[in-house]
């Protein structure tokens, strides 16, 4: 049949004399291992061993490590507690409690945002699901716990401190520099629309607006 190889035809059943004598083959095998040994000894800089923790392997820009909650320019979390990451997570490790933010263009914020690191499978679905560019993953993987309670990371351990360097750099995120994607506009830099008492009036009457435009020019459509 074409396209089929009988691999046993290449290896003769009967071993040759030198193969049956054990030692020539063993010496040949030792030549292979000695070659590796001497190569490692002479050029010790090219050892495959990564001497962690003095040196760390340079993982890529897409590494899925510890999560990080992104912040806006004014220091508030970008997260609007929409629960999409909690819903997308196959391990159900994200717990969110939403609260109302006094600023209308932010509308909601997470009062509690917990990720149980001992349930998280580091799949990155939360990053894919977030519509507000609020959760990324970093290249930080150095986590070990002595008990299960300290493995639940809250906002204090997850949030990104604005201005400070992220440990080990960013990892898996929705867009990468140079790929042409435009990040969302930062809502903190937008003017607050007039009529702030509108919200209070609507709350009194029992109806809140279903959709508020976050950028001028976008027409309010149907509710999601």
């Amino acid at each position: 049949m074409s396209g089929v190889i009988d691999v046993s035809a290449r290896v003769p059943k009967k071993l040759s004399l030198s193969q049956r004598l054990y030692l020539p083959e063993i010496l040949g095998g030792m030549a292979v291992t000695m070659r590796h040994f001497l190569k490692n000894l002479i050029r010790i800089r090219n050892l495959p061993t990564i001497l962690y923790p003095e040196r760390k392997r340079n993982y890529s820009d897409r590494f899925r490590g510890k999560h990080i909650l992104k912040t806006r320019e004014d220091g508030t979390l970008k997260c609007v507690a929409c629960y999409m990451c909690a819903q997308a997570c196959p391990a159900e490790c994200i717990s969110i409690v939403a609260g109302e933010h006094p600023k209308i263009s932010y509308e909601k914020y997470p009062v509690v945002f917990d990720i149980d690191m001992l349930r998280c499978v580091f799949c990155g679905f939360c990053v894919d699901a977030c519509p507000k560019d609020a959760i990324w993953m970093t290249r930080d993987y150095e986590m070990a716990f002595f008990n299960r309670e300290e493995a639940v990371f809250g906002i204090d351990r997850l949030r990104e401190e604005p201005g400070s360097q992220v440990k080990d750099g960013y990892g898996y995120r929705p867009y990468y520099p140079g790929d042409g994607t435009v990040p969302p506009a930062d809502a903190s830099s937008e003017p607050v629309p007039p009529g702030d008492g509108e919200r209070a009036r609507m709350r009194i009457h029992g109806n809140l607006p279903a959709y508020r435009p976050s950028a001028p020019g976008v027409r309010p459509g149907g509710a999601p």
């Binding site: 063993i26 040949g28 196959p90 560019d133 435009v182």
Partner: protein
Amino acid sequence: MSTVLPPALSTASEKIRARLEQSPLAGKVEIRDLDIPTLEVFPENWIDLARFLRDDFQCRYDLYLDLAGVDNLRRPGRKTRFEAVVHLHSLENNDHIRVKVLMPDAESPTLPSAIEVWPAANWFEREAFDLFGFQFTGHPNLRRLLCHDAFVGHALRKDYSPGQRWFFTEEDLRWPDWAKDTNVRAGHFETQTLSIGPSHPATHGIVHLIARMDGERIARAETQIGYMHRCFEKMSETHTWNQVIPYTDRLNYVSAMINGVGYVRTVEKMLGIEIPKRGVLIRTILSEFSRIMDHCVNIGANLVDMGALTNFWYLFQNRENIYGLLEACCGARLTVSYVRIGGLAIDVPSDFVPRCRSLLESIPTFIDDVEKLVTNNRILRNRFEGTGVVTREQAIAWGLTGPMLRASGVAYDVRRSRPYDLYDQFDWDVAIAPDGDNFARYLVRIEEMRQSLKIIRQALDVFPQSGPVNSDDWHVVLPPKDAVYHDMESLIYHFKIVMEGIRVPKGERYEWIEGANGELGFYAVAEGGGGPYRLKPRPPCFPAMACFEKIIEGGSISDAVATLGSLNIIAGELER
């Protein structure tokens, strides 16, 4: 029941219908033309139909692939609550067929065991008994296989709560009855029953082998599994279609990408969407790298059991290098979760092709080193040759596929017999060996690694420099992020896909690809909702583990260890 005539008939189902009408089974079997010809039969006619399908000269369905139980409790409009869905393959005619045995008795579903027709049915039926409660009359050893012996209830029934656990202690573990007595042969030699595993360095993953030892020789053996049953199928029923993808990674975890590709292909076929060429080629290239990784682990671990430790480290170098590539593409080394329904999670980085090409340079050096150490080494040849022999007839009867079947001389490779993902456009060879012993399996795997490198080289030559990797159907694929950030319509698509899951049309489908171990198929049933109604992976190493106890009988324990290593048992896939 009369035979139903659908409007368009495929040649396979026409042929079967024609042959059935001339047999005593005329009128008792219903044939429908779904993705593959589907026959429906009641339990009283099942064995006759089984014999007919195996023996009839036009049918010759000799390879028993899979048995999936389905509970139709939440599926309105079905004839019976329980169905046993059997998939078969004909090596001669190269086609698949599905047979559904409908069991009218919903309290205690009963059907005869097909073990005399296809010995491969043994463990599949035990699993269906364990997870659904199907009573297979005539089965010699109908005990629980995957769940522990103190388990109450049948886990995959729709009325069984997913989190309901049962307490299991050591006293509950049941040994087979034959293990309890110690024969005394003439000459006053007693046999001993040895329990090898489940925690044992030579049992990869966890396998519990109970062996009656007559000195060094194994007089009788039985394997107990279930020590890694992680309830993949139940988890797939409680998650959405995309959320199943991380679970599929953990099936055959040494070649995680291939399982993902197999699963999303099934769903994409049900949805009827096509992936752009660049996405298909990325999946193919990374699947072939995963196949190389799988064979590296298998050969390495097998040789470690023989005491040849150096090869393990050389082959793990290959794995580490491929890990670097996978990690650059998707962010994780082992459990990649890189595929999505409709394409991939993200596009590959810009240095993908140079990275692959440098891997193509470095991988063969390590494979050559291993071959120099192993292939002509008298010690290893003596240990591998002639041990763990599986003849061609045995391999087919036991439902083996993949390198195990090819090492017994049958040239069945899904990439060749039913090409998918552009495999027919590449020039590569299927490796077979006629002997069926451990050495043949080793040679076949080494050659498959080289063939995989050949395929990757050709795929890189036709790789498009740019282009989309995902289908553009936003009902299925998450829209691009900047559209989601700025455009209301994309946000709505994004929201619906994340919150509710993809809407897959009602129906069922079995799609199969060549995993590193053999035919990896996924039988998916969609019944609306955001996730699968039933998802059954066809694990390629399951029949291999089932026949292990028969292969090693009469051999010595050291041969058993060598054979177990060459079967490539991955516990995640074996026990899902």
